[in-house]
Point group: C2
């Protein structure tokens, strides 16, 4: 047990010195890996996440193949909205579609409360299986959930969006409905993340992937209180929380205020500037451009080195991308980055 | 002539006091307007831009319908690449497609030099027609071009992109090829914009719409010198230049260094913060969220007021959106914003 608490990933979350900078990748399990494609050939995405033994297997694939310092549960941020009453489909090549989007007070009122233990028991069981497999290894398991804004954007738009017209319209033109929806989402997500922690997740990440579409004014008024409620509830358990978004250069101070032991940065803000902006009472995660993984190894190495130099060798840095691994990323480059980070930062 | 130089739009570009804040909208001519749809029913986009009398008519539609303080030439940022040898198609619902994308040294070498006067004479003729129509009116005409990075991203990717994989890969893995391409684009765009000025454009905007995908390091090394070359060439003519991008919170200081009398801001950075960051030796343009135009008028008015309050009544503010008008935007709301801005800021 003590070796697990001493894992460099968890130490970095707590801004403690580490023997080498920990590294993991958002979307480290997925289509770019042949092992994953072999499983996907026989099972849909929803089948994998609904069958704990498959979800656990996929979760562990990058741990074995890449040597990353943390596992992240294989799941989808949209899972909690299904038991809440939304009709979700992963359409071929189109991303997620929600057939009954939420746009009225009645739509919000009809959302069911999430009972994580019964509604998403398969996710929690996958966590238990992964923890058993990783027992005694210095590779902690990260649980996660979508943040309320990012989930709200999907359920209001009915899928992925470019301009968030319906989302922002609900926010501004029907603020009561917006707040009611965010309240329900925050409650559901708090329960879901706490259940993940009880099942064995050793850290959790809140993905506010699309929050960069908002102005700071809108974030402060319509989003911050709900993310804050979730983050505080996790932090009282002592479990480290990573608070992540993209395109957030103008939101970072508010995101820190909302909470998180670790703030995720994308590549648009150099890591040294990000640390200066955030102060030294919070750790940072990031921030290699996912596209860098396509470059020849010497070019890739330069970019990895740049990130590490900007991190400045200070405690409290978790190496990651600025966003998830892209389809068609060469696996051997991902593996090479793990080795580079460990080699360059080894004390 | 003196009345035209005194137009509030041009005065604001020069940071001179104005009788009311000037307002225009990126993509103010387009599908959201019934007048435009009537013309599009009979002509393709390329037909309109290739027939000066149609392009001029469409350019003037929002001037008549909305009362904006500037006209912007109706054209497309991709026009200059066609005579350079790229096979461009505007595919139904898919946006622009380039059938022979540029990805090798040979591709770059085979690009033709642009001769703006002969290759894009129809655009210059449209400028002359619009100027004739606006003669004596205090409504200046803005010319424009895409910035070299944004154009490079289209010609390398072969169309619009989400992650700019080929673009960034060319930049990092084949820097010589990248620089050769940017050099050719910068030369073409400088000639094109200078020709627009000679034809009568009274200000020009350089659209670096997608530059926000880059880190500041990449911008400084691979983009800034080329945008700078163009911007300096225009500025020596005394014609005001607006330098625009989106998602640029971490790039603004470098964009100012590259040049421009006016820097465009999107809604992610509050206007007062943007002005503080940029200093008072440059004007700013922006920065209402285009989605705000869908909100009920009282909500829209609050947001317009917020932008104006943050502008602080100082000289050197041009009211605009943070990006182009979206399809389906209610025309009457756009018109209402023009009236609000004039009414609220009238001295």
């Amino acid at each position: 047990m003590s070796s697990e608490l001493d894992a460099r990933f968890l130490r970095a979350c707590r801004r403690q010195p580490v023997d080498a900078t920990p590294v993991w990748f958002m979307r480290q399990a997925g289509r770019y890996m042949p092992e994953y494609r072999r499983i996907r050939a026989h099972h849909s995405l929803l089948e994998i996440v609904e069958r704990p033994e498959l979800a656990a297997e996929v979760t562990l694939q990058p741990v074995h193949a890449l040597g990353v310092d943390a596992a992240i549960l294989f799941a989808d941020i949209l899972l909690p909205i299904v038991p809440m009453g939304l009709k979700l489909e992963f359409a071929q090549g189109e991303g997620p579609l929600i057939h009954n989007p939420v746009r009225t007070p009645e739509d919000v009122a009809s959302l069911r409360e999430l009972e994580a233990e019964s509604d998403l028991g398969h996710v929690l069981e996958a966590i238990r299986l992964v923890r058993r497999e990783l027992s005694g290894k210095p590779v902690p398991l990260i649980g996660f959930a979508g943040a309320p804004f990012t989930l709200a954007s999907y359920v209001i738009e009915g899928g992925a969006s470019r301009n968030y017209i319906h989302t922002k319209l609900l926010m501004h033109a029907q603020p009561q409905t917006w707040h009611a929806l965010m309240d329900k989402l925050a409650q559901a997500l708090t329960g879901y993340l706490l259940a993940q922690v009880r099942a064995g997740a050793q850290a959790v990440q809140l993905f506010d992937s699309w929050v960069g579409a908002l102005s700071p004014q809108d974030y402060a008024c319509y989003v911050l209180p709900y993310s804050q409620r979730i983050l505080k509830a996790i932090q009282v358990t002592g479990t480290p929380v990573i608070h992540f978004g993209t395109g957030t250069a103008t939101l970072l101070e508010l995101m820190k205020q909302a909470g998180g032991d670790v703030i995720g940065l994308d590549w648009r803000l150099p890591l040294d500037q990000g640390r200066r902006l955030l102060g030294d009472d919070v750790a940072v995660q990031g921030n290699l451009d996912p596209v860098a993984l396509f470059a020849p190894l010497p070019v890739l190495r330069q970019q990895v080195q740049d990130v590490l130099e900007r991190a400045g060798g200070l405690p409290g840095h978790i190496f990651n991308l600025g966003h998830g691994i892209l389809p068609h990323t060469p696996v051997e480059h991902v593996k090479a980055v793990v080795e580079m980070v460990h080699e360059i930062t080894a004390q």
